[in-house]
């Protein structure tokens, strides 16, 4: 099978002044243009907002991008956002990579614009290098047996079993003792309502 030629788009986010206040985002964008297989570079004020995401979708179409690098914040926050964004534009979500220019760079090197910008360039380069080797992935799906096991028949197990059964699921409740009830059944009254335990 012939390998598709790499066409990478890099989206550098200012995040208002969160990134641009410390990192020279224009320099980072210029630098990104020099990286191998990068065919489009777009700078955004807020990439996660709708206009920013639309820029990504537009660039995927216009430049026939097959890899996307978003240089913005931590993937812990916006990886799902941008995965969905590229998927909407017809790209496999696993072909999107992020560079963390905010939590790991601009916010922690605030006094040092030069070093922060150099580090940001490195992070983008690292992400682009990784993106070049990314492969489309397909999430496997497995069927679910529609039944639940509840281990323990104290108040917790009883409540969980009843909720699940009332929701329409088959429940197997396993209790070690001869009766369910657990510790609760041995109590007299319960705080804060002072009502009976059983």
């Amino acid at each position: 099978m012939k390998e598709e030629k790499l066409r990478i788009g890099v989206f550098v986010c200012d995040c208002g002044l969160n990134i641009a206040g410390t990192v020279d985002c224009e320099a980072v964008a210029e630098f990104a243009r020099t990286l191998p297989d990068v065919v489009a570079v777009v700078r955004n004020k807020y990439t996660c907002a709708d206009p920013g995401q639309n820029e990504i979708k537009k660039a995927i179409q216009e430049h026939r991008l097959n890899r996307v690098v978003v240089a913005s914040c931590t993937p812990k926050i916006h990886e799902p956002t941008f995965r969905q964004c590229v998927a909407d534009a017809g790209l496999n979500p696993y072909l999107m990579e992020m560079a963390n220019l905010r939590e790991h760079c601009s916010w922690v090197h605030q006094g040092d614009r030069k070093a922060a910008t150099e580090k940001a360039m490195d992070l983008v380069k690292s992400a682009v290098n990784r993106a070049r080797l990314l492969e489309a992935q397909h999430e496997a799906e497995v069927p679910v047996t529609r039944a639940a096991l509840v281990i323990g028949g104290g108040v917790a197990g009883i409540q969980a079993a009843l909720d699940l059964a009332d929701a329409g699921h088959q429940v197997y409740l396993v209790e070690r003792e001869p009766s369910i009830g657990g510790i609760m059944a041995a109590l007299d009254k319960i705080y804060a309502t002072m009502d009976c335990s059983i």
Binding site: V144, Q159, A160, D163, L164, L173, V174, S179, M184, A186
Partner: protein, 614 residues
């Protein structure tokens, strides 16, 4: 309880234990041992004729030993299932000649001395662990005289003595003279909040339980005086503070200080408590007629069996570790398995119920969906490179890899639905036969290449696990904690993914310093994968030393998602270490590793050749 017994969709296995669990989310196979109760559960009408004739008398556990029961008995009147049980170890013998009185008395003949344990298999999609707690046994705290003095009881025993269904029909009397005590002392934090004996943690419920007990006593016997000895009162739930205030209003005396000694007066059988009142700073003596030890709770002593079956982790206190303490508090790290109640941490009834409903809702999501997606970060095996060593199966924290069999030519098999994607197998495979999807060797090494292409001497290469250390870096960012800009992070899902060759490759490419950073052992999101990180780094330290490379240039740190401060501190310390590495040293390392790499390449080529020809 009754609702459970009659619910058409709940199959109750009482007097049963989970024997074995295999499988993965959506597809668990469970073997349940239904122990012989020697009474046919469905036939028994709980008439109680059998018990009347039984000649064996033993202490009644349900009544905390304050009264007795027979060898054939019902645990308590409202028991579900409503059926008797025969304790064969107490029974005079299953030979009817020896006794057999219960069978004679049973009109329905539903007693079966020959009943055997049954193994029942069920298939389920999700599992809720609600195994509860053990009540702390205060015998070891001999200063309180529990088991030496009859009038010293635990809070669990108090429950039976005050209960209308208890051995005294709710008449609260002290064991020695069966008289209502005029003074009762409650000692708080028994077995809790102690670094020496018992447990370090707060058991959560004991303050409120004691407040409730004092109010119950006041309701029953307004003339009885209660004294509560405490460290501090924790009344933080809804309506709790009001209850605390009410108990003070009715005259309960709260004395800040835990008695150092309880001594019995042999004549009156009263108890004399010596306590340092930390409010007044004076040592005081209090004589009371009865003492209640407010005991804490612990993880079930035999929980490790189930823990292993479900590959769960526990925190330092013995309770189970959540998938995420804030965002997934009822999810276990094993997908499809959820927690409810005190197995997760000490908690009261209300909290247990809340958590159980949450766990049921979480489980329902999976059951309703009918299908589950497996994130595409799983391991893939290239059998052409596999030499059946079985390392992958041994290191997998999830038992998601079946062991190979060289003789039968069976390769290991990766069960994708059970694989969580930590990458430990890929890092440990000596033949690079395992590829981690989305975190391949090539992808990670391409990042190292990019970082070290220019000015490598000024940079530190750091591998950080997604869940803790990378998130710890995020936390440092969110908190605006400043640190030197030399660090370059490479994210892997788990530090267990960090292959020996990544570290050596970074050194070969001129890195002055390499950091491997993962979760603390108790926080590892892949059960115990982090222990393999540690072993591997230790192995690498030895190797570096052997090669003449300073092992200090490879650092290992455990940083949690909440430890932004620590992350920043470690980065500052690393920068100091980096400055001490000279260009000559780096050059020398590169030379050593270049030669090593050549040797390794030759060795590997030979190995692959041998494998292919075999």
């Amino acid at each position: 309880m009754m609702d459970v017994g009659r619910h058409p969709r709940i199959k109750l296995f009482a007097y049963s234990e989970v024997e074995h669990i295999s499988g993965f989310i959506g597809n668990f196979n469970v073997k349940i041992r239904k122990k012989a109760r020697y009474v046919i559960e469905d036939e028994c009408t709980a008439c109680g004729d059998c018990t009347k004739d039984c000649p064996v008398v033993v202490p009644d556990e349900y009544q905390q030993g304050f009264s007795s029961r027979k060898a054939i008995y019902i645990p308590f009147p409202q028991a579900v299932p409503s059926a008797y049980i025969l304790n064969m170890e107490e029974c005079l013998g299953n030979n009817p000649i020896a006794c057999g009185k219960c069978l004679e008395a049973c009109e329905k003949k539903c007693i079966d001395y020959d009943m055997k344990d049954e193994i029942i298999e069920v298939e389920v999609g999700t599992i809720i662990v609600a195994t509860g707690l053990d009540v702390y046994d205060p015998t070891e705290l001999d200063e309180f005289g529990y088991r030496s003095y009859e009038n010293v009881i635990t809070s669990m025993e108090f429950e039976r003595l005050i209960c209308a269904g208890g051995p005294t029909a709710g008449h609260f009397v002290r064991p020695t003279d069966r008289k209502v005590p005029r003074t009762v002392a409650f000692i708080q934090c028994v077995g809790s909040r102690s670094g020496k004996r018992g447990n370090r943690y707060c058991s959560n419920i004991c303050c409120m339980n004691t407040i409730k007990d004092t109010l119950l006593l006041y309701d029953h016997y307004p003339e009885t005086k209660c004294k509560v000895f405490y460290i501090d009162i924790r009344a933080f739930g809804k309506g709790f503070e009001q209850m605390f205030m009410r108990s003070k209003e009715v005259g309960v005396e709260y004395i800040r200080g835990i008695p150092g000694e309880v001594v019995e007066d042999p004549v009156t059988r009263n108890l004399i408590l010596t306590v340092e009142n930390t409010t007044t700073g004076r040592v005081e003596q209090h004589e009371v007629e009865m003492v209640v030890l407010s005991v804490g709770m612990e993880q079930r002593s035999d929980f490790d069996r189930l823990q292993k079956m479900l590959t769960l982790s526990t925190t330092g206190d013995g309770f189970v570790l959540e998938s995420h303490p804030k965002l997934k508090p009822v999810d276990s790290p094993t997908r499809g398995v959820f927690y409810a109640g005190c197995v997760e941490s000490p908690k009261g009834i209300t909290e247990s119920v809340v958590q159980s409903s949450a766990a049921a809702a979480r489980a329902s999501i999976i059951l309703n969906a009918g299908r589950v997606k497996i994130e595409a970060l799983t391991a893939r095996l290239d059998t052409s490179l596999c030499n059946y060593c079985g390392m992958c199966a041994r290191v997998c924290p999830y038992h998601a890899i079946t062991p190979p069999d060289r003789k039968l030519g069976i390769y290991p098999e990766i069960i994708e639905a059970a694989c969580a994607g930590c990458g430990t197998c890929a890092a440990e495979c000596p033949n690079d036969a395992i590829t981690m999807r989305h975190f391949t060797d090539a992808q990670i090494m391409a990042q190292i290449d990019a970082i070290l292409e220019e000015k490598p001497l000024e940079k530190i290469v750091a591998f950080a696990c997604n869940w803790c250390s990378y998130a710890g870096g995020d936390n440092a960012g969110t908190s605006r904690l400043q640190y030197p800009p030399s660090i370059r992070l490479i994210r892997t899902m788990c530090s267990g993914r960090v292959d020996e060759k990544f570290v050596l490759y970074a050194f070969q490419k001129g890195a002055p310093l390499v950091l491997v950073s993962g979760c603390h052992f108790a926080d590892c999101h892949y059960i115990n994968a982090v222990t393999w990180t540690q072993r591997r780094v230790e192995r690498l330290w030895n190797k570096l030393e052997r090669l003449g490379i300073r092992p200090e240039r490879l650092q290992l740190e455990w940083i949690s998602a909440a430890e932004g401060q620590k992350f920043a501190k470690v980065m500052r310390e690393l920068e100091e270490l980096r400055k001490k590495v000279t260009p000559e040293e780096v050059q020398q390392t590169r030379e050593i590793l270049r030669r090593e790499a050549e040797k390794e390449r030759a060795r590997k080529a030979k190995r692959v050749e041998a494998l292919r020809s075999a």
